[in-house]
Symmetry: C2
Subunit: 256 residues, 2 copies
Amino acid sequence: MAMKKPLIGVIGGVGPYAGLDVIRKIFDNTRALKDQDHLDCMLVSCPSMIPDRTEFLLKGAENGMENPAWGMFESAQCLYKAGAEYAVVACNTAHSSPIFNLFSRMARESLPGFTVVNMLETCAAFVKESLKITHIGLLAAKGTYKSRVYHEYFREEDGFALIEPEERGQEKIHEAIYSKQFGIKIYTEPVKPQAKNHIACEIYRLEERGAKAVILGCTEFPLAVDPQDFSIPILDPGLIVARKLIALADPEKLLA
Amino acid sequence: MAMKKPLIGVIGGVGPYAGLDVIRKIFDNTRALKDQDHLDCMLVSCPSMIPDRTEFLLKGAENGMENPAWGMFESAQCLYKAGAEYAVVACNTAHSSPIFNLFSRMARESLPGFTVVNMLETCAAFVKESLKITHIGLLAAKGTYKSRVYHEYFREEDGFALIEPEERGQEKIHEAIYSKQFGIKIYTEPVKPQAKNHIACEIYRLEERGAKAVILGCTEFPLAVDPQDFSIPILDPGLIVARKLIALADPEKLLA
């Protein structure tokens, strides 16, 4: 009898195109000469169940807004029932403690044998293993900055300095994601030049302030940024975790 | 209590990028100003369970090769367990009778309330309603030609003429999909110029032979063709069925 192949799950919808982007990166990084060589994957993109993560972190908890963790857990249940062994949540802000701790506790307690791969932890491990740098720029959504979740992985006492845009830059980045005129959440195919420019400009500023690499800490940013346009490494946690998932499911399939 | 939102399922993996493409087209054609406006969708991309459809149709049945319908049905069961109401199979060749009849019978008998939307039937209905044409070019994989599945929807006795590439053209098109040097199944990001050229050339030939529109009858072709590059309508069954799924799940969300 053939061994059942491992099934990789992606919790998407946060936003929808970001989830799709992570799945695409799994395909792009898989050694495959035909359909059947590709890894079994599943995308649950149910945004109707998952409130905006940044809104929840900025003002939701006090206003009785539902924790996005519940919808993320419902998505995880879908993947679990379908037989997924591994899953990732395709949203940086969702990894902030007030959301992710509840989500991962529910998954651990209710879904035996189901491994939630932490995208931020995976990204941080990659940076520490592959790049000998201490000064790292962080582009993120406001909720991610407020929660300081990346600081848990790059601690000052370990010699790391996370460089964040100044307040005006954070506003610009927020607009690049959420603006009704040009934000990536609305305009994805194609991304509007204003959104691209806002992000590129903040990458340059982070570099001027000493960043030796920049983390694209929101899964919408890779849709708008080509890392080859910059002289320092641009780190995409979605790409890093896609490669990690391949390595977990079938290491021989991981493209160099 | 909030009404449960309809969940749209896509049976992908046939091939993987084609499944992704149909999901992206659902997102692209949805009226959405924020994540939560998007429709709930699910992609099951389990190519390890589904043998090559063309290979099965050309030589598989005699050689005891497993019918792809079984793996498609396993994928449908995943979607059903997760709560999907509608599903489409993101592969034209999979709609050929020897595969699709078995698949849809199993789904009908075992998955109550689960609607399999037939991509080819949907495409044919769109052509008949929207375009007043009788001469239609068909680009497809060899298995699709052999099965004559599109002829079931465009019948000669109803006045339709399906124009197919000549034998050499069919070989070229087969290479564009399957070639180990430049086929779309291997080289998707980006698609190789040879694959694009082979397909474009056959579109021109079909037009010369009287086609008033050309159906991209393999879900890999839309990855390689920009309809704006041609003077006749280029019909993408994946796009047409994506719009149909939105109309079924929530017609107000369908972009004009």
